[in-house]
């Protein structure tokens, strides 16, 4: 193993010298899009702006989709009935991330969870990923609650941004936080 004080033979290049060498050609993509949200996600995003979590129900199998789709992917039937969810649900699974996208250590670890939302008339299958659910951050939760597994099954609800800050985006929900009983 090479210790950090050992200087290896050869010519050392600085970053800007590297880019002056022929053989490295920089290109920055000019790739921009404006995605049409469509019928289902469009209404879902509008709902978020109004502080509501909306889903759709499949008329054949009764599955409730959050985020909603115009069709049931299992039945290939159009989903026609809209339902409003309370927003409350329970943590299905969660993870603590200690590093950022660029692998730098985060000052405060982030907790990401999949939340099984309570939906009127449909609970999904208990041990499977078939439920109206949302992927979001958890707050007011300690990393140890996650690492120990205590957080699994905990009741949570959305912490909404103030109405004037909502943009019709999934970030209109700041995070999900545990419901304090009583």
């Amino acid at each position: 193993m090479v210790g950090k004080d050992v200087k290896l033979p050869g010519t050392y290049l600085k970053g800007d010298e590297m880019y002056k060498l022929p053989g490295l050609v920089e290109h920055r993509p000019e790739a921009k899009y404006e995605f049409a949200s469509g019928q289902a996600q469009g209404r879902f995003l509008q709902g978020l702006k109004e502080g509501k979590i909306l889903g759709v129900k499949c008329p054949r199998c009764g599955r409730v989709y959050v985020p909603p789709r115009m069709y049931c992917e299992y039945c290939m039937a159009p989903t026609t009935e809209w339902v409003e969810l309370s927003g409350e649900g329970e943590v299905h699974t969660a993870v603590v991330s200690y590093i950022s996208t660029f692998r730098a250590r985060l000052e405060k670890p982030e907790i990401i969870a999949v939340i099984r939302l309570y939906a009127p008339g449909y609970t999904g299958k208990p041990d499977e990923y078939e439920f109206p659910g949302i992927f979001h951050k958890l707050c007011n939760v300690e990393p140890d609650d996650v690492v120990s597994g205590r957080i699994i099954g905990a009741r949570v609800r959305p912490r909404w941004r103030p109405p004037e800050e909502r943009r019709g985006s999934v970030t209109d929900i700041e995070c999900f936080e545990p419901v304090v009983e009583g």
């Binding site: 290109h27 993509p29 790739a31 921009k32 899009y33 049409a36 469509g38 299992y74």
Partner: protein
Amino acid sequence: MASRVAIVSMGWYGFKSSVDELSFREMMFEAATRAYETVGLDPRRDVDAFVSCQEDYWEGIAITDEFAPEPVGGVLRPTLTVAGDMLQGVAQAYMMIKTGYFDVVVVESHAKPSDITTMHGIFEMALDPLYLRPLNPPNMHFLAGLDAAAFLQRSRLGREHLAMVVAKNKRAGLSNSRASHAAPLSPDDVLSMEPVVDPLTRLDIAPFSDAAVVAVLASEEAARRFTDTPVWIEGISWITEAGTGALAWHTIGAMPGLRVAAKRALAMAGVSRIDTDTSFAEVDDRYSYVELLALEELGLGSPDEVARMLEDGDLDPGGYYPVNPSGGSLAAGVALEATAGFRLLEVYERLLAGGYEEGRERGVVASWRGPPTRTFSVAVLGV
């Protein structure tokens, strides 16, 4: 001999400049539902595999393959993506059925160019990063301009022939519900316009369209379960010339790749000449000159002979050998990888409509994947 392969149903949605009301996934679902319901097919029970034709940069989603199964009924079913035009996907499905392991295969393609706000930037990403991108070509049509200029020089045809193609197709599209860009234009209307990339004017360049197309392919035995009117894929082939990285080495002003794909597909179908053994063709016309060049490469005649047919109205709808009776891309737009799906759909529906001379109950689809590719596909369909 392995089973013949048929198209038993097709569905579509869009073919408008912008499908604002639906997301790309919802367009896929709408096109798929139409294809399935027509023949009473349940994709969750009756389909063995799904093929989706799309490309990440068009979608704006990396590994967009993962988005393919859900809207077409392919969740938890074998699904694969072909990063190519829809005819290339049809060729894959054709081969899958020929193996005997699959009886029913669905092919899907969709395009939402209206979601792309930097079309030139996406096009640029298809160019060689070390050599071509630093040159920063001023607009994405420069390659077609080079090709068109070289074709006119070699063939000694003039801009007026390109204008006649534009007028013919834009007018033919007036009776086609998918041809949103149709217009009653004359060749003079085209000739009076300033070139965008000489010799092409804005009217010589097909505009973009949002669309989704779905085709259900089946073995002969399975096809009979769904329809009494299958349309057979009698021949199909696809070819890529030197890649886009070797742009300068491409044959400019000719399409040898299309020639080879045509030879193979026509031979499979037992077609010696398209005008005697088939009744019409839907060929690439995303730029006006491509139609004439494609007809030369399909063996219809020399550029001179093709031009004479054009002048005499032989290529008009109802003419001796109608070419792009649908109005082609000039009238219906370029729907990225679904452009070939449009041509396939037109040949499929026109064959079902019937009324063709015995022994010529066939139509030809000839597709270019568009610049900067040199990828071509040809299919012969028959009833």
